[in-house]
């Protein structure tokens, strides 16, 4: 069963309050050297057969991510 992971991240120029807050928390936890942090989401999809790459890309762009503020990345696991 092929598995696909779609990672959705805020675009680099978009304000990410969650990322800023998370960076601060990690620094407070004593982790040194924390720079910029971005928080996105990871969506794991199990397929019964190999998905249509173009359709998958379309769904990732228009449904799983919001193209106005987010980028996405598709990773197919064997």
């Amino acid at each position: 069963m092929p598995k696909v992971i779609v990672t959705v991240m805020p675009k680099p120029s978009v304000l990410d309050p969650q990322g800023v807050a998370t960076a601060k928390l990690m620094k407070q936890s004593g982790l040194a050297g924390v720079g910029r942090v971005r928080v996105g989401k990871s969506i794991e999809i199990e397929f019964e057969s190999t998905p249509d790459a173009a359709k998958l890309e379309g769904v990732a762009r228009d449904l799983l991510s919001n193209p106005v503020i987010e980028d996405f990345r598709i990773e197919t696991l064997p």
Binding site: P17, A21, T22, L25, V39
Partner: protein
Amino acid sequence: MKVGVVRFPGSNCDQDCVVALSQFPGMSAEILWHKEDTVAGFDAIILPGGFSYGDYLRCGVSARFSPVMGAVKDFAAAGGPVLGVCNGFQILCESGLLPGALVRNRDLRFICEHTHLRVERTDTPFTRAASSGQILRIPIAHGEGCYFADNDTLRDLREHGQVLLRYSDERGYLSQETNPNGSRDNIAGICNRERNVFGLMPHPERACDPLLGSTDGRVIFQSLLS
């Protein structure tokens, strides 16, 4: 009785708690700034509702780093009464003072409405002025108020009588329809095993004035006072 209401950055029910508590003769309430590292001089502590530190990452998680929470933990360990409302309940769970976690509501939307609650136990400093099985009409307002705990924890809570409030209908019956957010076991509020730390999602401070439609929240503060 002097109650400290903690103000985290992003708290927004702190002033409401002060207003509601001030109606009770014999009770005074003061704001406690989150950068304070002591709660000396207070007889009870309230962690109010709101979005502490913006509630980014997870609700209630950031408060664990605030100086005042160290003092609140010591206060609770020494048996002092600590009440967490809404975001305060989330903070109590995230900082380990109460078991379980609060996750997104079943229908994924924020819900603000009146609910009916059945009082399950009256042997605590927060419910002793109520009668067992009493129905309280108190509003909720949250996006992440679905109480979750694993089966062992739930069994533990029940065995030790730690479930203090459950979402019910106006006659006290429990069902999925009376459960606004999908909480396990219709749980609206729990206490710790020592019974001095109480967290609930509904807002008793919003049900203390007849002009707002209910005064059923008073029983919680009355209990604290008696």
